[in-house]
């Protein structure tokens, strides 16, 4: 009997080019959840090709599980192509808006921390400020961790977007 590959879970990111019809995203995510895969984040947008959209999915699982997921996604008639967005050879970005309570005392601290983390304050009033974080998911995580002591009122993350780097080593 063939040996089952070792079960080490890690984050996998896959890009899926799909035909842009109503219901495609719904069917894709429905299929994924029905088969017991656990999506961490999913994002979708149009491409330069009319009628084709690009979906980026990040999920945690072992290699064998993700292999099965890719095959199932490929089976969908709407799926045109699957792109492996392994963090090792891709650029990863996530966009996050976080609203933090900012009393007069905290305001300066928050602004300093924001400068250090190279994030932008995009809105400010007496009670709170909205800060925009763009970067790798770890950068977003780190910044949110720093903001915890300052009463986070709301967080909106887009989920990870990714693009393969072109290089001689990629197959």
């Amino acid at each position: 009997m063939a040996k089952v590959k070792q079960s080490i879970e890690r984050v996998h990111i896959i890009g899926v080019l799909v035909e842009d019809h109503p219901g495609v995203l719904s069917k894709l995510s429905g299929m994924i959840s029905t088969r017991g895969f656990n999506i961490d984040t999913i994002t979708v947008g149009k491409t330069m090709n009319k009628g084709i959209s690009h979906i980026v999915i990040s999920l945690t699982g072992d290699d064998q599980t993700i292999e099965q997921l890719k095959k199932q996604v490929n089976k969908l008639v709407d799926t045109i192509k699957i792109i492996d967005l392994n963090p090792k050879h891709s650029v990863l970005r996530e966009h996050c808006l976080v609203k933090v309570e900012s009393s007069a005392e905290a305001r300066d601290d928050i602004i300093n921390i924001s400068k250090l983390h190279k994030v932008n304050v995009v809105d400010m009033n007496e009670q709170s400020m909205i800060i925009e974080v763009v970067g790798r998911p770890e950068k977003v995580n780190n910044f949110l961790r720093m903001m915890k002591k300052y009463n986070i009122k709301n967080v909106c993350r887009t989920g990870v977007n990714a693009m393969r780097r072109d290089s001689n080593n990629n197959h």
Binding site: M1, A2, K3, V4, V18, E19, G23, S26, K27, G30, M31, T34, I52, Q64, E67, Q68, K71, Q72, N74, K75, L76, V77, D78, T79, I80
Partner: protein, 566 residues
């Protein structure tokens, strides 16, 4: 040209000659158009849309063509769902049309509106909603391509009423499906490796699944077996792809399969699985399944390879294509060898062969099967219900010609039998078609007796009537301390009288020596017949292994095998 005419023209272009359906408000324009094509297109009016879906499914299973069914919007379409799901689980190419409210009303909770695109999304290979008459022809073309190529599967097409009545002005020509590129020819390097593996194995076994039938690969399978003397077992879906009277035919494997088949699998050193998906009914406990064997898995759907059972040698491709090339490679390398394994298996198969004459009263259900086996001819087709009678049938009935037994394997849909037999008879009218059913299953779709009568479709229904929901009762007896909960059907109704109510002939049989004469009389009839056979109430279909059990832990006595096989 209006939409309704475009739809019919598109169907005729796809060589559709029959369809099964039930009208309603949202499909009246289409039904009106049918009257203009009665010479080329036969519409069979069923009595429940589920019957239409099962009939279309069976039509596809016996011909390999796409089976077409049609229902109105709302409840009509949702009544198709069970049938579509049944086809999906067994990879059957069904084109299911459902009416829909006019496009302007969609999303408004209109009368008889249901979001069927969402409902069918995960039980179809793909679905389409036609929003413009210009897209009718291209959509239907795409639907048939998808249904019939790669791994077959059902397609749902939604037809809003206004699309049926609007003018085709600028017909869409493009029928390209960007995301559909089925892999037909297997990788030659893999095929070569497979040949080596096979020649170096000492105890090979072939598992032939439904894919062999869908690919029409029975001849190629036969060649492989004859070349190398490899024993063959089939799944329920693959049954009839290999003649079961052949000395190397192990019969069906799995939970209610033959002990000798499971024995061969458990003791093999190489499993060659073709067109099968290693469903839990045949593998039992995956931790112990095929422990000692290497696995070659040939399938057109790469997602099935490695899904349940880890595979040593995967080959993605069409069964016929791959086997043809594999046979060519083997023919150059192989010499037919006398194998100890093949001889041992042949001996076991012979020992396991049971033909019984059990003249007990009440009738032993096995007796019914054996008597039926005497009457049914090689070219006749049998459809089954689901439950004990289905397992008796797949276990004991011998089939040798492809596509002569149809059964709901993946879904296990009770009520499949009668409408499936109906569809099979419409597809192949010149053979006898039987529905081998249970009292529980038959009662679920027996209104199709009306269709059999009024559409002049002859089906011989044999009901293995044990007064119980047999399979559930068996499980209650074996696994729930015989605590019967809601399983006693008590032989209501009298099925012979039900047949009479439909102006059809009905027989009640309660003695074993009445079975054959009644069957013979039924064969002589011109019209559909119902034979209600009262069998022993609490008989079990054994041997079996429990869900998740090891296939080597089959329990329950076989008729013949001396002692335990494992």
């Amino acid at each position: 040209m209006l939409g309704n005419e475009a739809i019919v023209k598109a169907l005729l272009e796809e060589n559709v000659t029959h369809l099964f359906g039930f009208p309603g408000g949202s499909v009246m324009p289409l039904y009106d158009e049918f009257l203009n094509h009665t010479d080329n297109l036969r519409h069979v009016l069923v009595r429940h849309e589920q019957g239409a879906a099962h009939a279309a499914d069976a039509y596809a299973r016996v011909t390999g063509k796409a089976g077409v069914c049609l229902a109105t919007s709302g409840p009509g379409a949702t009544n198709l769902v069970t049938g579509i799901m049944t086809a999906y689980m067994d990879s059957s190419p069904v084109i299911a049309f459902g009416g829909q409210v006019p496009t302007g009303l969609i999303g408004n909770d209109a009368f008889q509106e249901t979001a069927m695109m969402g409902v069918t999304a995960l039980i179809t290979k793909h679905n389409f909603q036609i929003r413009s008459a210009n897209k009718i022809r291209s959509t239907i073309k795409k639907a048939f391509v998808l249904a019939l190529n790669g791994r077959p599967g059902p397609i749902y097409i939604e037809l809003p009423k206004d699309v049926q009545t609007s003018e085709v002005i600028n017909e869409e020509k493009d029928t390209h499906i960007a995301g559909f590129k089925p892999k037909i020819s297997g990788h030659f390097g893999q095929i070569r490796k497979a040949a080596d593996l096979i020649l170096n194995s000492e105890m090979p076994v072939i598992i032939a699944g439904g894919g062999i039938l869908w690919a029409n690969a029975c001849n190629e399978l036969n060649q492989l077996v004859e070349m190398l003397n490899i024993p063959v077992t089939t799944t329920i879906m693959g049954k009839s792809c290999f003649p079961e009277q052949h000395p190397l035919s192990l019969g069906v494997l799995g939970m209610h399969g033959r002990k000798v088949a499971n024995y061969a699998i458990a003791n093999s050193d190489l499993i060659i699985a073709i067109g099968c998906r290693f469903n839990d009914r045949i593998t039992g406990n995956l931790d112990t399944f095929a422990e000692k064997s290497k696995v070659i898995h040939i399938d057109i759907d790469s997602a099935e390879i490695g899904k349940n059972v880890p595979v040593d040698l995967p080959i993605v491709g069409d069964a016929k294509n791959v086997l043809h090339r594999l046979n060519a490679v083997l023919a150059k390398l192989a010499q037919k060898k006398d194998s100890i394994w093949a001889d041992k298996i042949k001996r076991f198969i012979k020992e396991c062969d049971c033909v019984l004459d059990i003249n007990s009263n009440p009738i032993d259900p096995r007796m019914l099967i054996f008597e039926f086996n005497k009457i049914i001819k090689e070219q006749d087709i049998v459809a089954t219900g689901v439950g004990q009678q289905q397992m008796f049938c797949t276990h004991f009935l011998k089939r040798s010609r492809p596509r002569t037994i149809i059964s709901s394997g993946g879904a296990g849909t009770m009520g499949f039998g009668l409408p499936a037999a109906l569809g099979a008879k419409v597809a192949v009218p010149n053979v006898e078609v039987y529905n081998f059913d249970g009292d529980g299953s038959f009662a679920m779709t027996m209104q199709e007796l009306g269709t059999l009568k009024e559409e002049n479709i002859k089906v011989i229904s044999i009901i293995m009537n044990n007064a119980y929901l047999g399979m559930v009762r068996q499980w209650a007896e074996l696994f729930f301390d015989k605590r019967y909960s809601a399983v006693h059907l008590k032989r209501t109704p009298d099925f012979a009288k039900v047949a009479n109510a439909y102006n059809l002939e009905g027989y009640s049989v309660s003695k074993p020596n009445e079975i054959v004469p009644t069957l013979k009389e039924a064969c002589n009839s011109d019209e559909a017949v119902v034979i209600d056979v009262h069998v022993k109430e609490e008989a079990n279909i054994l041997p079996m292994f429990a869900t998740g059990g090891n296939i080597t832990d089959m329990f329950g006595d076989c008729i013949h095998i001396p002692g335990k096989l494992f």
